[in-house]
Structure formats: C-alpha cells, structure tokens
C-alpha cells in the first residue's frame, strides 16, 4: 500500500469506504484466475472491435490497445453532484471568457488577465477577433481533467477546450464491464452514461446556424484513419448517425460548405471537427494542410456553418490562462470557483521563475501550450539530464512554462497478473455546451497510470483506463 496518498477504496483504513464495500468484497472473494481471465477477455474483445489508437513517433506500434483495467472506479452521488455543479460553472465561464476575448475584451481592460498572455498565445486566432460564435458557444465539447487528493476536494488539473478525446472509451468501457462483470455491475446502482451520443447530437443541433432551423446536416470531420483517435471519430459518427468526412470530401463555394456524395453535393451546416485549428483551412492557416477544406473559415465567418469547437477556443485552455480561472469565474459569474485550481507558479513572473528553478526536482513543469503529456517534466521522477534540459528551456522561454507541486494523486485498486495494487488515477468528464444549456453524463474517463508510482496517466505515455461508476448512493 502506497503511503501518503488518498486511496479511493481504503482511505488508508482497514475497512473500505462504504461505497467501495461491494467491490472490496468481490476482490476478496474472486480467485485471481477470474481476474486474469476477464482481463484477457477484455483485451480480445477490444482488439476484435478495433478499439485501437496510434502512438506518434513509434514504429511498429501503428495500432495499440489502451490497457483496460477491470476494477471500476467509484464515485458517490453526493461527490458527483458537487463535481457536476463545478463543471457547469467552469464551462460557462470558459465560454463567456472566449466570447469576451474575441469581443469587447472587458477582462483585459479590467486588468484581471494580462493582455500579452492572450495576444502572444499560439492558440489565439486574430482571424476570430470581432466575431461572435453562433449562440456564443465556443467550446461545445470540453474535457475537464480532475484529480483528487483526499475524500473532500476535487482539483482541476487542466481544461481541454479544443478537441478533447476519450469519450468513446468512457462508453466502450461501460459496455465491457456490463458484459464481463454483470453480477458486480448489477449489485451497484450505477448511473447510465449511454445517452452521451444523444446529448452530443442535441448540443450540436442546437448550435446550428440560424438559417437551418428545422433539420441541420451535421458531420464529423476527421483527419483520417491514421490519426491516433480515428477509432473515436468513427465510433461517434456511428452513434450519432452522421457522416464521417475527411477534408477531401468537403468543398466550399460562395461561403457555403458542401460534401461530395454519390448524389452530388449536399450542404453541410454543423461540423464537429476533430482536426486542429492549424489544419482546417489552408487558405487561412497552414497552407500545406490537406486535412481541412479551402474556404472553410470564410464559410464559418459568414455564419453559414458552425464549427465545433470554434476556432481559437484553445486560448482558454492554455496552462497559463488556467492559473487565472478562479479570477475568470469570479469576473463573469460573480461566484467563487466550486472546483479548486492546483497551485501554480507562472514562470513568466520573476519570483515564481526563481522558485521553480530552485525546486525543479520537486515540481511538475508543463509547457503552457502542451497536451497529451508531451513536453512535461515530472521532477521527482526525472534524471539529472532531464532536469538540466528543462532548466535551459525555462531560462530561454520562461513565458512558455508553468510549474505545479507534485500532486498526491489519489489511487485506485488496479488489477495485474498475479494481484491487485493501487495506482494513481485522474478523471476526465465531458461537458457539452449547446444553445439550450449544458449537458453532462454522470461519469467520464478514468485514466490510470499503470507503472508503479507513476503520475502520468496519458495513454500516449503508457496509461490505461477504467470504467467510472457514479452511484445513486452517497459516499457520506
């Protein structure tokens, strides 16, 4: 048992926490062979279904499985209620912030957020300045990464306002658990998540441009089958019953987007794009991109098509802007943030930089624009060389980094060949914003760092996933 961490099953006590008593009993009673057999079964099924992802920069790893752990991660109804209220508050504020940044910029004028943080940000899109996103929704699909350090508080680790992925795993993991452990599942009153696709469709429909009041044509834009999240793109298209298009399937004429079908061209109204800003329109952004469609931005700015998420939304999930989230929430909503922020040193500030450089071996240092666990330093686990490399990086570009204390992420029991051991977890709930309000299904993707002691849960860095059970019963 690891010391000094909040274990979500035991909380360091001999008896499990009340909501985990069912799981603990089952773990005590189930012979190890059963756990092994279920794990193998899960892997076979995932491979057959083709739930694979690609790791960039790794040869021969073209199609890998994200390891799935069969021990569920549990949250009480009361815990979820607090979390949900905090998520709704946060995503509302994020959308208002983006409306303001690309509009009147009140928050900059009020001196709450320093302007250069916005204008020097790579994800800020000057093309969007003065433009109002349809219905003032910028981040239609947000993934907010949450961690726990005790049985009270939830901390936001980061906001993902661009194209957060992982929701297909949330849904497939649930299917897998119902199939592999139907008894255990039935013994718990687990709130369902399988209405997520319907919620997503409803949110996207509500976000359609005003001209198509009745039946907007929605598509999902994918970079193609070699993208690491292709499985998810096709999965969602299937569940939503919409076409999965690539850039070459689209054409733009007179600021109207069409897709090429066997019956000629058909007008497109809403694009849930899983292609980054840089690649969506070679006329405006990267000219060498073939993943988007020439003229797409023109059509968007003319109000003829909705892009979800909106171009430029990434400026809100920057890790430097993150540090201002409590102020941002206060500014727009007049409320205190319900979810805590992790204490953060902004390396752009002299004092903070000095502190960070002196404490590199204790801190987690992140690029402000990084994602996917790439380009980050976990001090306590880093070699001397890695720390020196980061020292140089910090000195040459302090604005590009933030640092946080190494969090004592909570652990959950995780199954391995030959036994069960605690491993660190986080949680990514998916928050949907439509013209008609915010929707969240109870749960999210629990990611687990499979290596002993590791705090990095990203699938690209060897992390796995678990099913997240939000129970109807309370934790306290």
């Amino acid at each position: 048992m690891s010391q000094g961490f909040f274990d979500e099953m035991t909380n360091g006590a001999a008896d499990p926490r009340a909501i985990y008593s069912g799981v603990a009993n089952w773990l005590r009673a189930a012979p190890p062979e059963i756990l092994d057999a279920r794990r193998d079964q899960a892997e076979l099924l995932f491979r057959k279904i083709g739930i694979t992802f690609a790791v960039y920069g790794e040869k021969d790893a073209a199609e890998r499985l994200i390891p799935f752990d069969i021990i569920p991660r549990l949250l009480g109804g009361d815990e979820w209620a607090r979390l949900e209220a905090g998520l709704i508050q946060r995503v509302k504020a994020l959308n208002m912030f983006l409306t303001d940044i690309y509009g009147r910029q009140e928050i900059l004028k009020a001196g709450i957020v320093p302007p250069d943080l916005i204008f020097r940000n790579e994800c800020y899109r000057p093309e969007m300045q003065g433009h109002r996103a349809p219905h003032d929704i910028w981040t239609h699909i947000a993934g907010i990464d949450i961690v726990r350090v005790d049985d009270e508080d939830f901390y936001v680790l980061e906001d993902n306002c661009r194209t957060p992925s992982g929701v297909s795993y949330m849904l497939e993991n649930r299917e897998m658990m119902m199939r592999l452990l139907p008894g255990l599942f039935a013994d718990h009153a687990v709130l369902p998540v399988d209405n997520y696709p319907d919620n997503l469709l409803a949110s996207l429909r509500s976000a359609a441009p005003p001209h198509c009041a009745d039946d907007p044509r929605i598509v999902i834009l994918t970079p193609g089958q070699f993208n690491s999240a292709y499985y998810e793109h096709s999965f969602l298209a299937d569940k939503l019953g919409v076409e999965l298009v690539e850039g070459r399937d689209l054409t733009v004429r007179d600021d109207i987007v069409y897709m090429k079908t066997t019956e000629g061209e058909k007008r497109v109204d809403v694009i849930y794009r899983r292609v980054d800003d840089d690649f969506i329109d070679p006329l405006v952004f990267r000219p060498d991109s073939v993943l988007g469609a020439a003229g797409l931005m023109g059509a968007y700015l003319a109000g003829n098509v909705t892009l979800a998420n909106a171009p430029g939304a990434g400026v809100a999930d920057d890790k430097a802007v993150y540090t201002y989230m409590p102020d941002i929430i206060r500014f727009y909503l007049g409320e205190e943030a319900k979810l805590k922020n992790v204490a953060t040193w902004r390396c752009r500030e002299q004092d903070a930089l000095k502190y960070v450089l002196e404490h590199l071996s204790e801190l987690v240092v992140k690029e402000v624009n990084g994602s996917g666990g790439y380009g980050m330093l976990v001090g306590p686990h880093a070699s001397k060389e890695q720390i020196e490399t980061f020292r140089q990086k910090l000195l040459s570009d302090p604005d590009g980094f933030i640092a946080q204390p190494t969090l004592s992420l909570s652990t959950c029991p995780t199954s391995f060949t030959g036994g069960v051991a605690p491993r660190h977890v986080d949680l990514r709930p998916f928050v949907l914003s439509g013209a008609d309000g915010v929707r969240i299904v109870p749960g999210g993707l629990t990611r687990v760092a499979l290596k002993e002691g590791s705090l990095v849960v990203n699938s690209s860095q060897g992390g796995g996933t678990k099913d997240t059970w939000v129970l109807a019963t309370n934790a306290k």
């Binding site: 491979r47 076409e243 079908t261």
Partner: protein
Amino acid sequence: MLARTADNIYWVSRYLERADFLARLIEASNRISALPTTYAAKQDEWTSVLIASGADETFPDHFDTANEANVIAYLAFDDRNLSSIRNCIEFARTNARAVRTALTVEMWEHINSAWIKLKAFEQKHSDPTAIDREALIGFLDFVKETSSLYDGFGYRTMLRNDIYYFARLGVSLERADNTARVLDVKYQLLLPEHEPLGGSVDYFQWSAILRSVSALTAYHWVYRESIKPWNVADLLILRQEMPRSLIHCTSEVVRWLDAIGNQYGRHGNAQRQARTIQRKLESASIKEIFQSGLHEFVDGFITDNNGLAKAIAEQYLLG
C-alpha cells in the same frame, strides 16, 4: 452517402472477391501440377496462372522462374504484388476501417479478425516460398471463408439501401472480370480441335477451369454429361443460373446499378453501359461465339467491363 464511402465499400467487396478467386485459382492449379507429367504440361500451368491473375507483368521483377513455389508465394503472400491475397485482405481491411460506420458491426469485426489472423499467419511463416502444402491449404480455406462470411454477414445484417447496393455491385463486377480472365488465358483449351478423346490431358485442364470458378459440380447438374469444352464455355459465359458466368454477373451488375439509380431517381452512363453489355450476352449463342472467335469475344467483354468500371467511378465514386 459520401462518394468516398461508396468507393471504399465497393472496393472492400472487390478485394475480397479477388482474394477468393485467387485462392480458388491456386487450388485448381495445385491439382493440375500434382498430376503425373503425362497428364499435364506443368510449366505452362503456373505461367497461365500468373496471366489469369494479372500478375505476369511484375512477377519477373522479383523472381527468375515461374515455378510452383515462386508463383504461389507471389500470388498469395507477397506484399510487393499489389493484387496478392494478403494485400487484398489488408486493402479490404484498410478500406473497411475508413468507412466502418457504413458497415455493420458483424462485417467490420469479421474483416478485422481476418486481418489479425493474416498477421498471425505471416508471423508464423516468415518465408513465403517455404510454406508446405498443408499450411497452404489451410490458408486458402481461410481466405475463401473470409470472403464468404463477409458476404454472408452483409446479406444478413445490412440495410437494403445504396450502401448495400454498392457492396453487391463490387462483388458482381469483380467476379465477372475474374471469370473472363480465366477464359482469356485458357481459351485455346476450349477450341474445337481439342475435342475429348476420353481421359485426355485436356480433360483435367477443363475440370481445373471449372474448379477455379467453383463450377465443377454445377457443370454436371446443368449438362448431365462428361466435360466438353463448348459446354464449359457455355456455362461460364451464357448460363444465367451459373453464379460466376459472365451473363449472370452482368445481370447482377445491372440489377444493383438500377437499384442505385432508382434510389437516387436518376440513371446515367453506368446504367446504359451495363445494359449494353447485358444485351450483347443475351443475344449471343455459344455457336456464334465460337464461329466469330472465343478469344475476341472474351477480350471484348473484358474491355467493356473495364469501361463500365470507369463509368461507375465517374458517376458515383469520385465525387
């Protein structure tokens, strides 16, 4: 539906049909080459297999001699041969993956599993020229089963709409092409001077032709007599009840193109061309075909069929 989706669906079908055909072709040729030399001209057999499969042009770039081991390795397992069986399965899977939302779960999981099995087979047999007959037979059975099950899952689980029509269209068009290729390569064996003299060398060649399009049993049911070359030609070209005959495949092509045209409310070039080919076959008799030249007739069909494939691509698949 997206033009690209239609294109992918259509090609999944074509690749799997081609894989099935290649498996049968190799099986049939294996039987011939297993005969004592007095019954069959062995060397020519493998060269003609190369021609029938369309691999004769690239084969010499990689191998010196067209012997059994080399030809089978090239046709079945070689990733340098664009139309090898392993490539057909891999391309079919790649196409399926690009449009997995258009396939039913059963179809996708089946083709994905087949691809995983192919990978496992390749790992076990790293030298394709050293695969023994037993392993080869197992592999060919697996290939035929893969194609049949894909078809079957489609038949049982797909909605009857344009997606289904394009899938069927791919099968029929590819099948017609394959039958025509066998006829094109073996036509000399079917010419009148090769009349059967009872147990001749040719007898086994004719039965091999029938086997390669899985029509040996069908032949006996239809003609109720020993194998005669003009009957073989008749069965493979003009017999409507024979599922791999040119006329049947063409009728199917017409049927699925009409279904597509009806759904979209518009018929075009592809439908017209398909009907022209169908009329040609319907008005032909085997006697006339032999009189005016079997080779010319089959050649003409291959050209027409390719032209039709082009028209289909232009009308529907390129977008």
